[in-house]
Amino acid sequence: MTRVLSRTGLLLGLPVVLLVTWWFASAGSKSFYQPPLETIIKVFPDTWTGARFKSDVFPSLIRLFIGYSLAVLLGITLGVLIGANRRLRALVEPLLEFLRAIPPPVLVPILILIAGIGNPTKVLVIVIGGVWPVLLNTVEGVRGVDEVLSDTCRSYRIGGWLRLRTFILRAASPQIVVGARQALSISIIMMVIGELLGATNGLGYTVVEFQRGFQIPEMWSGVFVLGLLGVLLSLAFTLVERRVLNWYHGARAAERSGH
């Protein structure tokens, strides 16, 4: 019980201290651009529930979900292919290094030129940003599969789909998860960036609209929404990771205790 309390305390301690500090420091602020925290919190419910949730939050979430899923799927698929094939790896590695070095936001105007300003472009922007960490980590994971396990599969004639599913993907899963986690935060960033240019709805669009309309407390509340979204998704990710990598953490712990 005390452990749970102290963990919750550690988790929430700093945010609470910061919010309280902010609250009192900004109380009575007359500055137009730095409204009191109280005002920001007051406008929060009216701004983000109801119609705006449906017209702006929901479309953003859908785009994020589709874009992120595609990035992970594409990253794993290409990563397995490249990681398992030494020739292909030698062929595409320089190209990957080049493409990865391009900051994805730079590609947004180009994508808009090619694909227009519709939803597909906004999803594509997320995919282009999120695919790299998944792809590169999957390549490393697949490349690093244990040789003895690999021999075990060969000698027991475990091949094809069964080998991919029960050996390659599982063996690479710790690294794939690392990539997917990075991709998640990048995807949120790319979601917002995609909504800054040529958009008619979405979270990023709404924040910019508030700024242009001098609705400063509402603008600040939009920043809060994005931060909260990141925290919630990260928590959800941790839950999934615990299930998927249960074996990995157990095996690591056993190793440390000198089994």
């Binding site: 040789e147 003895v148 060969r154 000698s155 027991y156 475990i158 029960t166």
Partner: protein
């Protein structure tokens, strides 16, 4: 039957070739228990990997049940030395044993039966739900042996399977392997660097020379079929045989050093 004829294996590197095996000729009859022993670094593992179809010989021929080995042959199972790395850590013990059976296309009910039988054959009847890393090293190697048994192989290859477990566990596992062999009657080829282990386990001991490797001697072990860690190891004949093998290996090392 296992037949190895003039097997040679060289590893090519940049401007440097290493001759791991020079000339190995060896036959193991069906149902025989043969131990291969040799000085360390003599290519025992290379030999076993050629037999298991995991390595392609440079020249010569390997046959399992009359078929030339070009890839992992049917009805052959390998127990590797690194038990910690040959079991899938994300699968439970029973799933580890079941996996090769799945790829063999055996039905669910039959699979379950084989898993239960093989687990109880190695004395781990109630460990099916555990993960490998929750077990001790000796128990993990028992799981690897159970997996091999469940596969119902005609030939079982063991690559220094007990090199990494403690002495007492090792004695238990040696007796387990004898029991398994007597009960299931497969052909057993057991590679080890431990001379006592080779003499204690085998019906025949094949002594390899130092690298570049050839067969130094084929030695029949004329001990009784019932082996016992205390009695057998203290028999005069056992001591004679192990001393003989030991002398041959020392001799082989001396030749290599010169």
């Amino acid at each position: 039957m296992l037949e190895i004829k003039s097997l040679r294996k060289t590893y090519g590197g940049q401007g440097r070739t290493v001759e791991a095996l020079r000339d190995i000729t060896l036959t193991v009859e069906d149902g025989q228990f043969v131990c291969v022993v040799g000085p360390s670094g003599c290519g025992k593992t290379t030999l076993l990997r050629c037999l298991g179809g995991l390595l392609t010989p440079t020249s010569g021929e390997v046959k399992v049940a009359g078929q030339t080995v070009t890839g992992p042959p049917d009805g052959l199972a390998i127990v590797f030395q690194e038990y910690g790395r040959s079991l899938f850590p994300w699968l439970r013990v029973a799933e580890n044993i079941e996996l090769p059976l799945k790829s063999k296309g055996i039905g669910r009910a039959e699979r379950r039966k084989l898993v239960d039988e093989s687990l109880s054959a190695v004395g781990l009847g109630d460990a099916g739900k555990a993960y490998p890393w929750q077990l001790s090293g000796g128990m993990q190697q028992r799981v690897a042996i159970a997996r091999a048994i469940a596969f119902q192989p005609k030939v079982m290859l063991m690559d220094e399977p007990f090199a990494a477990v403690d002495a007492q566990t090792r004695a238990d596992l040696e007796d387990l392997v004898r029991t398994v062999w007597q009960r299931f009657g497969m052909t057993m080829l057991f590679v080890t660097h431990d001379i006592d282990e080779a003499v204690y386990l085998g019906q025949r001991v094949v002594v390899l020379s130092a690298s570049p490797t050839s067969v130094l001697e084929n030695l029949d072990i004329d001990l009784s079929d019932e082996r016992d860690q205390l009695k057998t190891r203290s028999e005069a004949r056992f001591v004679e045989l192990r001393t003989h093998v030991y002398a041959r290996i020392q001799e082989a090392k001396g030749v290599a050093a010169r």
